[in-house]
Each structure stands twice: as C-alpha cells, then as structure tokens.
C-alpha cells in the first residue's frame, strides 16, 4: 500500500502500525507527535493505529527554533 508520510509517497507493508513504522526507522516514539489524516494520534495509540492505503501521515518533533 501507499501512504503519504511527511508529504512523500511511501510504500508500506499492508497492516503496518504507526509504531512499527517508527521502530523500523529507529525513531523513538516518545520524541514525536503524529497526525493521521489531520487528526492527532495520541502517543499511547501508536501501537494500535493501523495504517491504510492512501493515508496521509505527518510525523513531527521539536527542533531548535527561536
């Protein structure tokens, strides 16, 4: 399936969860916030949030800023 992750079309395994996607890329889940199809996903729900074909996912974190 194709999921748009941070604006980029990404090929993902069917049924993959948000948590699995982060872990596969070594991104600590407690350091990010996610927005799936414009709705915020609480950190506790990352593991049970199954991604679907055509989803729009944003994964963000804090960076330096003034």
């Amino acid at each position: 399936m194709i999921v748009v992750v941070n604006g980029k079309e990404t090929e993902l395994r069917d049924g993959q969860t948000l948590l699995e996607l982060l872990e596969a890329r070594d991104i600590p889940a407690d350091g990010v916030v996610a927005e799936l199809n414009r709705s915020i996903v609480p950190g506790a729900d990352f593991g049970k949030t199954v991604l679907n074909d055509g989803d729009h996912l944003e994964v963000l974190r804090f960076v330096g800023g003034g």
């Binding site: 890329r25 991104i27 414009r38 974190r61 960076v63 330096g64 800023g65």
Partner: protein
Amino acid sequence: MTKDILTIGGLELTSRLFTGTGKYRDDSLIPGVCEASGSQVITVALRRVDLESGTGNVMDFIPRHMRLLPNTSGARTADEAVRIARLARAMGCGDWIKIEVISDNRYLLPDGYETAKATEILANEGFVVLPYINPDLYVARSLVDAGAAAVMPLGAPIGTNRGIRTREMVRILIEEIDLPIVVDAGIGRPSEACEAMEMGADACLVNTAIATADDPAMMARAFGRAVRAGREAFLSGPGARAGMAVASSPLTGFLDAGTAA
C-alpha cells in the same frame, strides 16, 4: 524589597530573559546557555521528522526545569498555526505556545490579523498564548480580547539584529496593554535588551544573538545581566533629567506679582 516576579499563564518567573534553541552550531551548547543566562523559558520549533536519516534530538539538551515555549514558525495562516499548536501540545510538554504567523518571506513580518484569529481559538482551548506581533496598538488590543497571556512585539524584523527600531510603538504597548510585554526579535546586543527593560518591557526573548556568539554561554550571561540591570533601572524610577533648580520664573512669575485674585 519584595521579589520581582513575572507571572505568565499562572507560572511565576524570576528571570525575565527568554532564550531560544535555534541556530546553534552545536545543540550541546544549550545547557550552558540556560545555566549562564538564568533563563527559565526556552523556545523550540516543530518540524517533520527526517525519516531517512535520524538526527540528534534537541530535547536532550534542554534542562528539565525550563518552561518549553514551542512556536508555530512555518505557519502562514491562523489555521496552520492552530494545527501546529495542537500538535505541539500533543508532545506532552505543556500548553504554552508562541504564535508566529508569517506569509511574507521577504521581510518575515508577522500577520496581525491571522495571529489574532489563532490566538482566540487557542486561548479558548486552554493554551497559554504568547503571540508574536508588530507593535501595533490595535492588534495588541485585539489580542487582549482574544485571551492572550502576553504580547511579544518585535524590536526589529527577525534576524536583522538592529536593536529596538520600534521603540516608540513598543513604548505605547507598554503603556496601554495590561499584559506582559515581551520584546522579541531584533535584539542583537545586551545593551539593547537593557534598553527594552529600562523602557518597562516585562521580558526579552533573545535567541540568535546568543546562539551565534563565539562564546554563547558568556553572551548568555551578559544578556541575563543586562536584562536584570534594565529591569532594576526601570523599577528604581530614573530621576528627572533636568535639574530642579530654575533661576527665573517666566511661566509662573505671575503668582508672585500680586495680580488680582
């Protein structure tokens, strides 16, 4: 003397210098800056995670006691600012938010109208909202009505390091607006932060000038002291510049001349 406390969103601050986390050559300099400046409030931005190459996490360098002030940089409209603010709160680091709505990338001047819209929405959602604005009295008043917790007027356009170019306008906000006034942007030198505080600003936000110094920690200490000095000068109330002695009395002499009463 009683302690000089700045209260924003129910939080009591003893330091009136806010710092930032942007533009450091190495984020590991941040803890030293926090310590040397005495600052208790620090800004961060929210960005997309780079999924290909993991990079260091700025949060690892921010001391636990600091109040995090995420900004909405990147937002071009009120809607985008609201969206970023909600995401920032979902990070679980409190509900402070610096609203920054900029759609003109040449001058990087904030859009007061969109900022006020975003402020109202977020204040209603319980955010502690600190909007970044041009020092415009009407915008500031609309922010008061919208429920802002403080107002952050710019001293000069972002990144220009030109000092308090908007002096007279900021002064009007200080006089007229009953919210804490935090001068943000434009402050390039400690003397300029000091000047803002002498004028009666409640706090200053300084990022670039510290982050880009050769020795950020030393510069941070200098800013901390300058802000305190300016604050003390303001509190102590500077005396009249002209002396009180006046030799002749051209304006009130008639009172002594025995004119008919």
